[in-house]
């Protein structure tokens, strides 16, 4: 029994990362109908920004009380990462949107942006890995055979909190209503006097900010950073978003945890070599039964 609960805790932690990244995919897709393939790499950039920001604070000749560096690192990283996302939107996606090109080209551009971020990082910082300095004294709790750490608890709560906040923003605020409106009918929207570009920028700020937050949490849990860390995790999170029903905030959240549970449980009860094979076969089955994902609605045009 302990074994299963421990594996559930593992899955909750691992799923939190998928959920945090999948939320960003889903948000941008929901508003722009654009699969932002650079999103996984924005997450990677977030982890690197967290590394630089925290090293910067730690290098100051000040003895910081416990947790203060983390308290500074989180907002600075989130802001800087959302700037990266907004820059991508400005430099790469907006010009294409203005020209009214087919959405396919924007998706390809997103893929290229991702590769640019990866290789730019490689060129700037070199290939050697970075280790995030310890920002929180690690506590290991043993609850009757179940091992928990303070970082794990923080990660899981962050994911839940972010989801709840995002859900409230999308459903209860004017900006959220505008975001839904953009996806509903981007042509009628300007006629209603809603500043479309501002709403899109807001979406990118939200999505990239969450990715940045995910980056910090990831770097704290797995403190070995490399330029390609966002690619694989990002892909899987994208798949999680699709399985959950892309464009739905709820779907991304559930999809992220679902993928992690399947992955972890495959390892728990089958030889670990089958991890990805089984995990993705199960997801294929789900998509086969429900091509629009668990929470997704059928749509006329998708890419």
């Amino acid at each position: 029994m302990d074994f299963i609960i421990q594996q559930c805790v593992n899955a909750l932690q691992w799923g939190s990362f998928y959920a945090l990244i999948a939320l960003g995919y889903s948000l941008v897709y929901g508003v722009l109908r654009l699969i932002n393939f650079a999103h996984g790499d924005i997450f990677m950039v977030g982890a690197y920004i967290a590394f630089f920001v925290s090293t910067f604070f730690l290098s100051m000749q000040i003895v910081w009380p416990e947790g203060v560096v983390l308290a500074f690192t989180v907002p600075v990283t989130v802001i800087l990462t959302s700037l990266v996302g907004v820059t991508l939107e400005r430099v790469a996606y907006r010009p294409l949107r203005r020209k009214g090109v087919n959405r396919l080209y924007v998706v390809i551009t997103a893929l290229m942006c991702g590769l640019t971020l990866e290789n730019g990082n490689l060129a700037l910082l070199g290939a050697s890995r970075k280790a995030l300095p310890s920002l929180l004294e690690k506590q290991i709790y043993d609850l009757g055979g179940i091992a928990l750490t303070n970082v794990k608890i923080m990660v899981i709560f962050t994911a839940i909190l972010v989801f709840v906040m995002l859900h409230l923003i999308v459903t209860r605020t004017k900006a959220g209503m505008a975001m839904r409106a953009v996806s509903w009918d981007p042509f009628a929207l300007p006629l209603m006097g809603i500043p479309m570009d501002r709403i899109i920028v807001f979406t990118f700020i939200l999505g990239s900010g969450i990715a940045g937050l995910g980056g910090i949490m990831f770097a704290m849990s797995y403190p070995v950073l490399d330029p390609y860390m966002g690619a694989m995790t990002g892909w899987k999170a994208f798949i999680a978003a699709v399985v959950g029903g892309i464009g739905e905030v709820k779907g991304a959240f559930v999809g992220g945890f679902l993928l992690a549970f399947v992955e972890i449980m495959v390892v728990a009860f089958l030889p670990s070599t089958f991890r990805d094979l089984f995990a993705f076969s199960i997801l294929l089955l789900i998509l086969w039964k429900r091509p629009t994902g668990i929470f997704g609605m059928p749509q006329a045009t998708k890419i």
């Binding site: 302990d2 074994f3 421990q6 594996q7 593992n10 899955a11 932690q13 691992w14 490689l122 070199g126 290939a127 050697s128 890995r129 280790a131 310890s134 690690k138 290991i140 043993d142 091992a147 750490t149 794990k152 990831f218 797995y222 403190p223 070995v224 490399d226 390609y228 860390m229 690619a231 694989m232 995790t233 992955e263 972890i264 449980m265 390892v267 728990a268 030889p271 670990s272 070599t273 991890r275 990805d276």
Partner: protein, 387 residues
Amino acid sequence: MNPGKLWLLPLAAAFLFPAASAGAATPLKIGFPLPLTGEIPKVGESSKYAAEMLREEINAQGGLEVGGVKYPLEFIYEDNESKPESAVSVTLKLINLDEVVALVGPQSSRQAVPAGGEANENKTPMISPWSTNPDTTRDRPWVFRAAFLDPFQAPVAARFAAKQFQAKNAAILFEVSNDYSKGLADFFKLVWEEQGGTVVAMESHGPRDNDFSAQLTKIISFKPDFIFLPENYNFAALIVRQGRELGYKGPFMGSDAWGSAELMELCGDSCKGQYFSTHYAAAGATGATREFIDKYRAKYGYVPDDVAALTWDAVNIILKAIQQGGEVNPDVVKMREIIRANLASISNFEGITGNMRFDEQGDPIKCAVVVRISEAGEFTAVESVCP
């Protein structure tokens, strides 16, 4: 021919016969397909640093003396991105385009096994400094290595673990897509069961995984006496940390791929007190090894890891083979044949990673050391095991 274009002739000659027109001896070209980026970039970096140090030393004396003439050395470094497919393509590029007389690298068996096949087929002598998987050199007369083999390393680790941890039950976690990791895990299991132990859990992970909590939870539930990790240093750092976070208090036993200069930076305090088998121990070295370590540290600012030392030895073995030939044949095909013949005939080589004898497969017979990661983060020798 139009007489007006006659002036082009010497120019063409200069391009076609660079050797003839240049006054000095042609440089000896050696190719290095190294993992400069990707999964194990530190391995690539320290190999390149060690090779550069040696090249600069020899070129400062005017070059390598072969049969009374000094030939400058030209080392060509290519990035194999720590991937098998890139290792094959850059090896082919070095062989066909750069026309190197010999290859040093790739380092990890994951790249060295496929690249070795290409070198052998294209009849170019290759020596892998770090690869420990038997397949790299097996039935490949053109491929050599400077490291010991996994069938030798596995019993070293197994016997040490049995004695040091008084262990009966072992668990293994390895990378399934890595020839090195998988090969060593299999050998270890074989040896461990032969000496009467039990392997309670054998789990694997993929090449781009970060989270090992599921595998570790499973392993811990079988209550092993120790966990054997034949892993690259980046995974070792993550796995040891996560094992501790999941409440595992027992020891970890590592293999030679732990021995990177970057391990302690990534792993921090969690790895202190763990053991791994490797090629040489920097702490407490003497003689030529000490000299190499001091030179390297003065030049690059950190203690060289085992890859750096093995690369140093591997390049020296190639240079010795070239010198023994007594001549530098301008025909690259012939030169490669000369080098291969001499490599095969070297019976004894005194390197900074110990004495080596070569068997008929081109594998060295040499000693291994087991090191402990001290509280200061240094790799201190605990035991030396010779075949």
